[in-house]
């Protein structure tokens, strides 16, 4: 770079002799050399007018001068710079006259180039037993993008930090490998982009846009479920990336094998890399998260309160964050720490009540999951596709809701309680050996 800026200095002297002093100070002096890449010199100019003027009047002479100084120069490109002058001077003044608080706008910049939110980093990611595997895999990917696990597929229920984790991968790669172009988007955005491009006859532009990146981080892949056209386009993008060992990172709310109506070829491609889940939060992790969320607010809750909050909110980091925000606000407002009773009131008002579920709703959810008629559960049929869901329902009712065997039998079409006991035991033992079944059940649980 130093060498380059010297070249530019000598070029400037020559250009100065070519144009009038007024022209020089108006058009040439305001430019600055940005970089050289493969023989192309990029010259920063303050505005379009300068670009036009230089291009029309001086382009050939500047290029000739540069070539004389450095034979490797093939071309000259102009880039309009953003204006960022007078930084130091103004900031001093500002600090003096601003007793008004400023808005925390810095936190809300989402970079246009890569869509990543810079708040999501590994540094502020809380690691616990529930996500340490996912975290380790993500770190590996961030260190060796495209080589270690490709694709990396993270799944887990809402509010467990999937987005944080995959964006942290993006931010880390962006930081450690500045020449790699990272792009974050949701599957939904991919879809709507694709749709727009079809409407405007710009399918080719769409393809090129995504293929120019080195790392793509895509959130909420389950959106592709039953969207054939998107899957098709996504499949090709996937192949291009995979073949050129560029990193792909995905997240979804469930394992790819149980995302309904996903083409097999896409499913198998997800399986090619690393699929890893963020499981349910254990209590220690929840407590760690409550403490971590308190730090930016400069409050510290005593152990009893932390314990209480961790007990009350079970599976959603977002809810924990919300509660901590409310507590922090109240603490500030009252000028003292809150006691347990006050926190209880806050919690009562702010978290959604535990849902009361009827047997019918559970049946409906399970049937929806397995895509069968609800009525068949209550009927006497022993078709294989009905028997399994029926047993799953029995298992869930017993295991999660502690309903007695006879009353489960009663509610599911008047079956004998021994039938229920048999089904319950069967599923319970099957879960141990059948990975898929256990995934299905945990998926159903999150849907309830």
């Amino acid at each position: 770079m130093n060498d380059l800026s010297q070249t530019w200095q000598s070029a400037l002297i020559e250009i100065q002799s070519l144009v009038s002093p007024a022209n020089y100070s108006t058009w040439v002096k305001t430019t600055r050399l940005i970089k050289e890449e493969e023989g192309v010199i990029y010259l920063g100019v303050p505005n379009e007018f300068t670009r036009e003027w230089l291009f029309k009047k001086c382009h050939n002479s500047i290029l000739r001068i540069l070539r004389q100084l450095n034979e490797g120069v093939r071309a000259l490109e102009y880039v309009v710079l953003k204006d960022e002058e007078q930084k130091a001077v103004n900031s001093k003044k500002q600090a003096f006259v601003a007793p008004t608080m400023s808005m925390p706008l810095e936190n809300f910049y989402v970079s246009k180039e890569d869509n990543l939110n810079s708040r999501y980093t590994f540094d502020n990611f809380v690691v616990g037993p529930f996500n340490e595997l996912a975290h380790a895999a993500a770190i590996t990917v961030a260190k060796t993008p495209g080589l270690a696990y490709n694709p990396l597929f993270v799944y887990g229920g809402t509010g467990r930090g999937k987005t944080h984790l995959i964006q942290a991968v993006g931010n880390k790669i962006k930081h450690d490998f500045p020449n790699k172009k990272v792009f974050y988007l949701t599957a939904e955005r991919f879809g709507s982009d694709f749709f727009d491009s079809l409407q405007n006859n710009k399918a080719q532009q769409f393809k090129e846009k995504y293929r120019k990146y080195d790392v793509i981080v895509m959130d909420d892949v389950q959106f592709f479920s039953s969207k054939q056209k998107f899957q098709e386009e996504f499949f090709h993008l996937f192949n291009t990336f995979y073949d050129t060992s560029r990193q792909l990172v995905f997240s979804a709310d469930r394992h790819p094998n149980i995302i309904p109506e996903l083409e097999d070829r896409i499913r198998s491609r997800f399986n090619q890399g690393m699929i890893i889940d963020i499981s349910e939060l254990d209590k220690e992790s929840r407590m760690a998260i409550v403490r971590a969320k308190c730090t930016p607010h400069n409050i510290s809750l005593d152990d009893g309160l932390v314990d209480f909050i961790a007990d009350e909110i079970e599976d959603n980091i977002r809810e924990i964050e919300g509660i901590v925000n409310v507590i922090a606000h109240n603490t500030l407002h009252r000028g003292r720490m809150l006691n347990l009773n006050e926190v209880k009131v806050i919690l009562k008002n702010n978290i959604k009540p535990k849902k009361m579920l009827s047997v019918k709703e559970i049946v409906k959810t399970v049937c929806g999951f397995y895509n069968i008629e609800e009525d068949s559960i209550y009927s006497k049929t022993r078709r294989k596709e009905v028997v399994k869901p029926r047993q799953v329902i029995m298992y869930i009712l017993r295991e999660d809701f502690n309903i007695s065997f006879p009353s489960i039998g009663d509610k599911l079409g008047g079956r004998d309680h021994t039938t229920i006991i048999h089904s319950y035991e069967k599923i319970r033992s099957d879960i141990k050996n059948n990975q898929l079944l256990s995934q299905e059940i945990s998926q159903i649980r999150t849907m309830l």
């Binding site: 007018f49 670009r51 009047k57 808005m103």
Partner: protein
């Protein structure tokens, strides 16, 4: 060439402000006249903005010349208004202007270095009534930051949201947002229009009656009326912060006041405010009193109560007078609602009835 006097005067007054001042290159403080048989294009630029105004003329020859903008416009403004035509002839290094009862000779400047005003071809074009833009820009632009540390904050941010065009600006101490209804389903790329160009853009747009075509490029935006006028402005290639996250969704105290009362109370209290323009609000729902208090050790102090409908909790909070008073120019309704989110949280000011398209946020003071 012969040119209608009022047409020429209008074109010159539109372009004069945009021509460069104190430029190192003399031709930049000039108008460039591109004379054709049927029309003349008058161009001016300060390298941040560029304008081209086309006026109909009758001419025998085609020439190009540049004259100092301030001289020509001062000359024309002194000429008594009349309906007839003006004769302009370019003779060697001078132009000769003949009006009804005055004749002037102005030295021209070599025009070769007058820059081309960039064209934006192939980008998305949108046709839109200019008064929409004027209204939106005028409603928010005073909130933009005057310092150039963050170029995106010393701009007005425009984006489309459904069938609304949204204008936002903030200097991080206050924020103004205005939504205007777009005719039909128009799509406009996001725009960051630099604050220092907003006044010129507004002035030019106000002079136009018919629909304009906007074209947005990476670094430039153009406003165009086919065959009549083209205004090109630099835009900032940057990102505006996701300000929606700052707008509070809840509040703990609300006061609804008559705009006129509140405005007057603020003006009175400002007489006694300190050098930071600090005004103190106390809101008490029990006693139903909204009091504005200011104190300056060198001058004195003042307490003014404002009739208000108060809900929520008791609140005491300080603001900078300037940051509040600004927003009234954008509020048409009789009453305004002040919503307070608690200490150290922004206050939301909105019109209570009628047009709800405006929203204002002011941050409190530290002390």
């Amino acid at each position: 060439m012969e040119i209608n006097f009022s047409e020429l005067k209008k074109a010159v007054s539109l372009s004069e402000k945009i021509s460069g001042k104190h430029m190192t290159l003399p031709v930049l403080s000039c108008f460039l006249f591109v004379v054709k048989k049927n029309n003349t294009i008058i161009k001016a630029t300060n390298l941040d903005l560029g304008i081209e105004v086309t006026v109909p003329v009758r001419s025998d020859s085609e020439t190009v010349f540049a004259v100092p903008a301030s001289i020509l416009s001062s000359f024309l403004s002194q000429v008594v208004e009349y309906d007839g035509t003006v004769k302009i002839e370019s003779i060697s290094n001078n132009i000769q202007i003949t009006t009804k009862n005055s004749k002037g000779v102005i030295k021209t400047v070599p025009h070769e270095d007058f820059p081309n005003i960039p064209n934006l071809d192939g980008d998305q074009k949108t046709s839109i009534p200019p008064d929409l833009l004027v209204k939106g820009l005028k409603s928010v632009w005073y909130s933009a930051s005057v310092s150039s540390i963050k170029p995106e904050l010393s701009s007005v941010y425009l984006y489309t949201n459904g069938d609304k065009l949204v204008f936002v600006s903030t200097d991080s101490f206050r924020l103004a947002e205005k939504k205007v209804q777009l005719p039909g389903n128009l799509k406009i790329n996001d725009i960051l229009l630099p604050l220092k160009n907003v006044a010129d853009v507004v002035r030019t747009l106000e002079a136009i009656g018919e629909n304009i075509t906007i074209t947005v490029g990476k670094n430039l935006i153009s406003f165009e009326v086919d065959g009549k006028l083209r205004l090109v402005s630099r835009i900032i290639d940057g990102v505006f912060p996701d300000y929606k996250q700052i707008i509070p969704k809840t509040y703990i105290a609300e006061a609804v006041v008559l705009k006129h009362d509140f405005f007057n109370a603020l003006k009175v209290s400002n007489i006694f405010s300190d050098k930071f323009n600090q005004v103190h609000f106390s809101i008490d729902p029990k006693t139903k009193v909204f009091e504005i208090e200011t104190r300056n050790n060198d001058i004195g102090e003042n307490k003014t109560t404002v009739d208000a409908k108060i809900d929520g909790e008791k609140m005491e909070i300080n603001f900078n007078y300037k940051y509040i008073i600004d927003c009234f120019q954008s509020i048409d309704s009789d009453s305004v609602s002040l919503q307070l989110g608690g200490p150290n949280r922004p206050m939301v000011i909105k019109p209570v009835s009628g047009d709800q398209s405006f929203l204002y946020l002011a941050m409190p003071m530290n002390r």
